[in-house]
């Protein structure tokens, strides 16, 4: 049995439906640009896209050819920054989650992590220039750029590792302590193995973040153009400068005249595609993990 709706209730329900529709539209307004942007970029990039574009070097004063030197340069930068920031980030997260007591000092550490994430990328670039290029005498090099990226992406790893560590139930640790294990033995044997996939997600996100950054590498080690053999796997030394995909896109879009029309679009698609692919991998890993968790 159902009561007849009074005008008051009918009005309430209309307002409810309207509100729901408006909020749904606002949420949809985020999906539309993502689809449109990716679709439009791919459409304009289509004539250039292909295997040849990836492994070929830029030709005719960067107005034609491929992106190999920039692609490899980005791999170098991301790889080295990962080697530096992954251990520091994971250990810092272990400290914050497993060792830190709730006192003023650790609140400072927490605030520092938040602020590190909030520092503008151009300020990271200035820091890298002042600290690594000049003060540490590393010069404009892959090393300077990668170290700048490593510090910049540290909060990404710290945040997701902390989340992964916090999701391991306290009872697991207590059980381990009760059989006489020390704090570190517990972390190594129980906490880390149970959160390894979450930590891996953080590492993957760091890769995607580092690959896309432009400003920090632009002033510390990435260059406009570097002559490299087609498809060469190890073209750069650590103290040399390199090209980077993100900066290459900026250069093609703003500095080089008469570029073949689809070239910057194709570069953007390769950069965007790699970053989104890496992110999708992180998301897939997380979903798979959630399905497997037994607690």
């Amino acid at each position: 049995m159902r009561f007849a709706r009074t005008p008051h209730i009918a009005r309430k329900e209309r307002a409810e439906a309207a509100a729901k529709a408006v909020f749904a539209l606002m949420a949809a307004a985020m999906v539309v640009p993502l689809v449109l942007i990716v679709g439009y970029l791919v459409y304009l990039a289509w004539p250039s896209l292909g295997w040849e574009f990836l492994v070929d070097v830029p030709r005719r004063g960067m107005t034609d050819g491929g992106i190999w030197p920039a692609f490899v340069g980005t791999l170098y930068l991301v790889g080295i920054s990962l080697v530096v920031s992954a251990p520091i980030g994971v250990l810092a997260a272990v400290y914050l989650n497993e060792y830190a007591k709730d006192n003023w000092f650790n609140r400072m550490v927490h605030l520092a992590v938040i602020n590190l994430a909030g520092v503008p990328s151009i300020v990271h670039a200035l820091f890298g220039l002042g600290a690594f290029v000049y003060a540490a005498h590393l010069g404009y090099s892959i090393l300077s750029a990668a170290l700048t990226l490593a510090i910049m992406t540290l909060p990404v790893i710290i945040a997701s590792t902390r989340e992964a560590l916090a999701s391991v139930p306290m009872a697991f640790r207590e059980a381990c302590w009760n059989v006489g294990a020390t704090r570190w033995q517990t972390i190594r044997a129980v906490v880390l193995p149970n959160s390894i996939s979450g930590i891996l997600t953080g590492v993957i996100l760091q890769v995607s973040r580092a690959a896309g950054e432009t400003a920090p590498v632009m002033f510390t080690g990435a260059v406009f153009f570097k002559s490299v053999e087609r498809g060469e796997l190890f073209p750069y030394g650590l103290h040399e400068q390199c090209m980077a995909l993100s900066m290459h896109l900026y250069t093609l879009a703003t500095q080089v005249p008469n570029v073949k029309e689809s070239l910057p679009y194709a570069t953007a698609v390769v950069l965007l595609g790699s970053v989104l692919l890496v992110n999708a991998a992180a998301i897939a890993l997380r979903v798979w993990l959630r399905g497997r968790k037994k607690w």
Binding site: A15, K20, A27, A29, I37, L116, P120, Y250
Partner: protein, 311 residues
């Protein structure tokens, strides 16, 4: 408590851990503590090294901090009338950020409300993936979109002479800061206890009444923090505004005017300023200013969030 000093009936044959294991453990724990502290060290180092490059010019007699902050004259490479006034750049940053927030805050909070209160779990998971992907798009790609797609669109729709302007930068920055606002805002709404919702529903409120009478007031600190973090993201953004807002160092007359922001100015001129020159040092000073602004915004956001947790 370590096994060695635990009381037990068998004192003789208890196996001892080898010395190297104990020392190794101490070393690793020291390393963990050091990594934890490193976050503080890095933030301090960023401030120190950026200020160190800026310092020589700040403490010189002919340099006026008042002029740096409040003059609109920015002629860094002029032959006989060098001026370093950043007001026009600050106004550029403020105008682009304000427009971005005017677009991103209603959409971001609306989407956050939809995600946390109205939509089905399956839709929510999908939308969260989209938000995550949206926030992963590199800023240089956003800038490229602004420079090519968006600027053509703006010229066509508004008849503006150039498509790279405040409107363009504002839209791009809005798209970039929406994911931050949505995910933090949703967390804030999620943090409101379910008993609040149940009490409202028991009184006969609809979901919409629940949202604006109960949830938004209860979560207002978290929502404010979400907005602040969005502002922080927009103020600090570099490549996107560098490519999408044009390069005119002046106070904009309207949203179809080109501007330059503090961040874009550093990125545009750092390459041409010789190391150690006044120009170079003033750019580092601008960096110090940016660091302090974002530091203050992030700190405020954290205190605002901490406020709700204490309750």
């Amino acid at each position: 408590m370590s096994p060695e000093d635990a009381p037990g009936p068998a004192p003789v044959s208890r196996p001892q851990r080898p010395r190297w294991a104990i020392l190794g453990e101490r070393a690793i724990e020291a390393l963990i503590r050091l990594s934890g502290v490193s976050a503080i060290l890095f933030v301090a180092a960023i401030f120190f090294f950026v200020l160190r490059e800026a310092a020589p010019v700040v403490f010189r007699e002919d340099f006026s901090l008042g002029q740096f902050l409040f003059s609109t004259e920015w002629y860094p490479t002029s032959a006989n009338n060098v001026r370093y006034g950043t007001l026009a750049l600050t106004v550029g940053t403020l105008s682009v950020t304000a427009l971005a927030m005017a677009l991103a805050v209603p959409f971001g909070l609306g989407a956050a409300i939809y995600l946390s209160e109205f939509c089905a779990p399956r839709v929510r998971e999908t939308l969260k993936v989209v938000i995550e992907l949206l926030s992963a798009i590199p800023s240089v790609v956003w800038g490229f979109v602004g420079l090519t797609v968006m600027s053509k669109l703006i010229v066509k729709l508004t008849g503006a002479p150039v498509g790279v302007n405040v409107l363009n930068g504002g839209i791009i920055l809005a798209l970039m800061s929406v994911p931050v606002i949505v995910s933090i805002g949703e967390d804030a709404l999620k943090a409101v206890p379910d008993s609040y919702r149940e009490a409202g529903l028991a009184l006969g409120a609809t979901r919409w009444q629940l949202v604006y009478r109960v949830l938004v007031p209860a979560a207002r600190n978290g929502l404010l923090a979400a907005v602040l973090l969005g502002v922080g993201r927009a103020v600090g953004e570099t490549m996107a505004v560098l490519m999408a807002t044009g390069h005119a160092v002046h106070i904009p007359a309207g949203i179809l005017d080109s501007v330059r922001t503090l961040t874009a100015n550093i990125a545009a001129e750092l390459g041409e300023a010789p190391a150690g020159s006044d120009h170079y040092r003033v750019l580092f000073l601008t960096g110090t200013l940016l660091f302090l602004i974002t530091f203050a915004v992030n700190l405020t956001a954290d205190f605002v969030v901490r406020g709700i947790r204490r309750k």
